[in-house]
Symmetry: C2
Subunit: 328 residues, 2 copies
């Protein structure tokens, strides 16, 4: 099969015009109505599709948008990615996906690859801190952070859920139910949430009840089990993500703790299975898909100056995993 791609040259020849004219017509430049029509007709007839390769090389950027998430297996990031994809599709741009495993080094590696590919726009859930991002930002990479911003963030726009309000609501709800010893089970990059947690809890804060896991399921389970075993006196736990929540449910079951009788639970991120769980989990819903969509929108808006950031609302969804403090 000798089917070479049809190039702009073929179109130009078939339409009896120069390549420059074809390019102009196709990218909306000025051209006389009759030429435009002829070129368009020939182009569709020949089924001409401009090669992104040639264009990219010429204008020194590949148009597409890079997407860096810690773990595409995590339902939250799956939904976030879906939002980015939806926006990118509307704009006709391809999305290059990479996972960082919440590891700064791996993140740097992925950024290197994106740069090599000529990608000029990135939506990222940052793993490294601002210091690590600074050099790559200086390369001219248009960046928008999603879900969390780099610690000590520079002026990179970020699309975030309103963690502050979410944590406050959760803490208020739990203290309102009479709970005093409330634990926070956190994941990578949740320093700010914890700060708010401390602040909201005030005098009740107990540093031993603040525990961090790394990104993996194993790590989450270990942290949850350790917490519950080490401090059986706690009566409520706030899990900072669906992985952490899953781990907490598992660990509680393992220790024969009854939810919500022995232990009240709130989980960040509403996932479909929260309703299937027994008891159904009370959660703080985050608009993951919106976060992705808005971030993609922001990163594509290259012309006008971008707002510093967007804060999207969270919502407490009360189901059945929280109850009054148990009599101790």
């Amino acid at each position: 099969m000798n089917t070479r791609r049809t190039t702009i040259k073929d179109v130009a020849e078939a339409a009896g015009v120069g390549v420059a004219t074809v390019s102009r017509v196709l990218s909306g430049g000025s051209a006389s109505p009759e030429t435009r029509e002829r070129v368009l007709a020939v182009a569709t007839q020949l089924d001409y599709r401009p090669s992104a390769l040639g264009r990219n090389l010429r204008q020194q950027r590949s148009g597409g948008i890079g997407l860096l998430v810690p773990d595409i297996t995590d339902s939250f990031y799956g939904r976030l990615a879906d939002g980015v994809l939806a926006c990118a599709r509307a704009a006709g741009e391809p999305v290059i996906l990479g996972t960082t495993g919440d590891d700064a080094e791996r993140e740097a590696e992925q950024i290197g690859m994106l740069l090599e590919q000529g990608v000029g726009r990135v939506v990222a859930v940052p793993a490294g801190d601002a210091e690590i991002w600074a050099p790559t930002l200086r390369t001219g990479l248009t960046t928008v952070f999603a879900h969390r911003s780099a610690a000590g963030h520079g002026d990179v726009p970020a699309v975030l859920a309103d963690d502050r309000s979410g944590v406050r609501t959760a803490v208020d709800y739990l203290t309102g139910l009479g709970h005093r010893r409330i634990a926070y089970l956190g994941g990578p990059g949740q320093e700010q949430r914890v700060a708010v947690f401390r602040q909201a809890l005030g005098a009740l804060v107990d540093e031993e009840l603040i525990v961090f896991a790394r990104g993996s399921r194993d790590s989450a389970y270990a942290a949850a089990a350790g917490l519950l075993q080490h401090r059986p006196d706690l009566t409520a736990v706030l899990a900072g993500g669906n992985l952490l929540g899953e781990a907490a449910v598992l660990a509680a079951r393992e220790l024969d703790l009854r939810v919500p009788k022995d232990l009240s639970m709130i989980m960040f991120d509403d996932v479909p299975w929260a309703e299937l769980c027994s008891p159904p989990l009370t959660v703080i819903a985050q608009p993951a898909q919106d976060i992705g969509y808005r971030a993609a929108e922001l990163v594509l808006r290259e012309g006008g100056r971008r707002p510093r950031g967007v804060l999207l609302p969270t919502e407490l969804v009360v189901r059945g995993s929280c109850g009054p403090r148990r009599a101790s």
Copy 2:
């Protein structure tokens, strides 16, 4: 900031050689040891990264691999994508992700974009049938199907879970428990599974108990609820995916059916929440991640001829959602 990228020309100049030599050294061609060393030294010192843009244009393909899945939000496809990403990362190749929503038209659109980007390799969960894929295959796109092959499949290699064995095992298990009226709740592209289901069930098959949903959550719920309401005499249901399983659990709960007392359930695809569910769901586990990894491996092996396909084993994981047939 006037920081132009360092090009191969800069390296050549700094090393006192021609650009051709630099290119050869960097891509493993022949060169004298001392030149090679000098060029390498200069390249690292200048932090030179070859631009994929130039290379791609020259060799008419973009190296990267395209990944087309119905829905990145679905845990199964998330894991599949993770496998593809892992393999691609090992090979240093970028992955362009697109979602098809199990819609042939949208799939065609995504393929068009990939072609435009010069992508020459695709791992896809096909939505359209073989007839739809034929023209794109003729363009020279190296394709590997994952999870399912296009109906009336041509000679495209495919990496599949052993559905046949999975369905048989599930049916055997349910009939062994005494069930006679067993339903299949299917999703897009599960014709082959249903065929096996019919075959395994033999004389027990009841066409009314075979129901299909489209890809969405709503559609899955509608199908499940409709099935359970219309045929309250059925005693077991086999759900063809985690979305379908979720819908079935929800619908059963809505109708106050007790699992497994009133209704036994088996779900295709083991997801983390299957264990959290109440009762924990008996499932047929599929190696989603492996499927993705192997598919990527296959699509990257361009030289040697590829095997026609790979079949990966499934496994019945017995939990608590199946019981003996209820006394009717």
